[in-house]
Symmetry: C2
Subunit: 498 residues, 2 copies
Amino acid sequence: MEIKQIEQQFLDYLKQQNAYEEALSLMYWDLRTKAPKKGAEQRAEVIGFLSQKMHELSTSDEMKSYIDQLKGVTDNAIIQKSVEVCEEEYEKNNKIPNDEFKAYKMLQSKAESIWEEAREQSDFSLLQPYLEKLVAYNKKFATYWGYEDHIYDALLHQYEPGVTTKTLDRVFPELRKELTALLNKIKKSTVQPDPSILQHAFNKENQQAFSLEILERMGYDFEAGRLDETVHPFAISLNPNDVRVTTRYDEDDFRMAVFGTIHEGGHALYEQNIDKKLALTPLATGTSMGIHESQSLFWENFVARNEGFWTNHFDLFKSYAPAAFQHLTLDEFYPAINEVKPSFIRIEADELTYSLHIMIRYELEKALISGEIEVKDLPRLWNDKMEEYLGIRPSSDKEGVLQDIHWSAGNFGYFPSYALGYMYAAQFHHTLKQELDVDQIIKKGDFEQIKAWLTKHIHKYGKMKKPLAILEDVTHEPLNPSYLVSYLTDKYSRIYNF
Amino acid sequence: MEIKQIEQQFLDYLKQQNAYEEALSLMYWDLRTKAPKKGAEQRAEVIGFLSQKMHELSTSDEMKSYIDQLKGVTDNAIIQKSVEVCEEEYEKNNKIPNDEFKAYKMLQSKAESIWEEAREQSDFSLLQPYLEKLVAYNKKFATYWGYEDHIYDALLHQYEPGVTTKTLDRVFPELRKELTALLNKIKKSTVQPDPSILQHAFNKENQQAFSLEILERMGYDFEAGRLDETVHPFAISLNPNDVRVTTRYDEDDFRMAVFGTIHEGGHALYEQNIDKKLALTPLATGTSMGIHESQSLFWENFVARNEGFWTNHFDLFKSYAPAAFQHLTLDEFYPAINEVKPSFIRIEADELTYSLHIMIRYELEKALISGEIEVKDLPRLWNDKMEEYLGIRPSSDKEGVLQDIHWSAGNFGYFPSYALGYMYAAQFHHTLKQELDVDQIIKKGDFEQIKAWLTKHIHKYGKMKKPLAILEDVTHEPLNPSYLVSYLTDKYSRIYNF
């Protein structure tokens, strides 16, 4: 058969995968936003069936034959890269025996619901037996998949290909040292922001209107997306022209919705601005969890927690805010939204302490997978590390080891992406500053320039480039945590006057 | 293999069909309610692929083998009936050659979008060539499927199995004679309702709140459904515990949303109250278009346009209505919502003239399929019949032949269901009146009794019984249009005082 014919068949095959993916994404979106609760049970069966179909397509003999026929042969770069991505997926999935894959999927979904109950009751012992099985499976899978230095690398690879424990063990200690030093300076400062000035009733409709206006200004395309309300905010791409965002409204704290929407908007801008030539291939999505997070954090923190952003948008904010906010000055407001304070819950952490939360999780999960520690010791070890890194000790499992869903979903190796995202974002930000007067641009609200730069250097590539290739192509150096440190030092030395 | 094993395999196979159906239903619902418009193009591809999968499952050799192994053999009534439904579908789909099926699907989707344009421009000639092809395909399909008396019966069978042209040619002329006589009396009456008293601004939020309250009182289960806004209202079952309703708000005419919601709520109650034992089989849906319409019309007209309904709910209505409605008396309001007046648009027609609109469509499509008339003559023939049946002549294609989407969607044989639904509803209503004091129950707002009766006699069966079997089992006689006539006579003689 002609190579062009095989290419066409391969592309048609990818379209099938894509169809299942879009159906599944819509089902997840619907379950989290709109679906009536009684329908969820049957919906779970439907999701199970369609996921199975997806899995079959990615591990089929037909897929294998496309890989064998096209790999290194096609001169079409998109097809070549698609073949590589499919081959990785094929190898990864085919290395796990079918019965283990099914049992693992069932365990995952069971463990997730047990986690909800355990968290509710703040009782780790409920989850422990499930977590033990999940860890055992992940060790097994890591062995199937293989690794060079450390067993945990095989898991890390799923979320951040190219990054290894070696990288993390180089950057995290350095970052921790600097963050701790900064944190000490902040603690000792006589200048302390007062975040209580932000905690006034602010009705949902107005928070929504303000959030929508900011999303619009960021360049989010509402003809290719929409904003809805959920308990846990997320962004999801159904297809390149349908990328949806959700947020959560807390009428006593507008920060939840406003910064949450901007964060998810950053994820969405990434997905909306991938080159449309990649549509209907596995390349039409963000290249990794870490690069994705770098985009959401870039908008949430480097843009929307920047002083210039509020110089520009403070009047707009006040036009939606209730009376209690009208007397506030920018000099009170800006420090208040940037308060640094060690806290128990990761997703509520400030820009500085956030990465410390991640390091705790990284160290614990690495030790779990390598067998140095046991699941039953997690609550104690978690609390010990919190005390060591952040100087506070959780008084319950709920505000400690049970706060995140990741482990009960079997996602070991995922957490480092969050801290990598911070470091990537800072490194991108540093490069962007060399090229453009970012602070001035943010102050002017000319986000089109920022969006264009991110699209040109990051978004458009989708999965055409691996995460570290993007980082190095844009910034001309390997991962370097010092940019995050200098960004935070610069920012907080002004706010806390040290 | 043991029969029980085959049965289990068959049930698993049905679950697969069900999964595709739920995914497709969610996609349709989403496209009509929430989906960003730019995403629709790729969504159409996904829908095409999943529909193709559905079609493959219903026409596969595997399906044929289940039918052959189980038909008449199984002693499980649900499986037996499921086999029968699958066999009908298998025969129907396999009689159409694959290439014709695909070409027809493409023509359908093209014609639907041309129809929108043609209607916009009020120009039938744009649609004519597509309609000619659609008619030709439908004639061909009818020949493939076969019929006893009249070629149109093969098409009618898709929507209302058991009902034939012979039945319709018996009941429609009789019904038309009586409706026309009634209409003449109404026209001559010196008493005329004044619907202008209803046309005051009524904000959407309050219309919605009132509609939600009525849906709740009807017994619609909001934990297994939800109400959204669309241009064209509909009810859709994603699964037996997820049956959604949509409505449309006209701020200058509350009747659109209120009666529209109740109508769709009637459809939804049917789907929500099918016996859960039928879930995940093809029996877990309404048995026919006509029986479905009988349920929506029952609630919309026989309940919600009943005088007692408003005796009970007028205060509630006023609590949501703006000032302009507060001085209205029930004696003004009740006749106004029941005005009879020939009008051009079917979906805006009153209870009396509605069936006349259907007869016009029935006669035209029957003649098209049998070859007695040609597509090009439709606009003229339509207008002639409007003049003959309703005494008014459309001045444009838009308010004439182009108003409905059905023909451009290839749905020939569908229209009679609407008038059948009216007659079924009236016949059910008559039976119910023998057993219970319906007017008193409506006046008391005790809808639970009505819902329970409809569930017991109609809803719970899903597709376990054919439409005419349901009608005869409940009312102990064949289709009889006189019940609709006497219901309308009774109602309008009071309102119009004749």
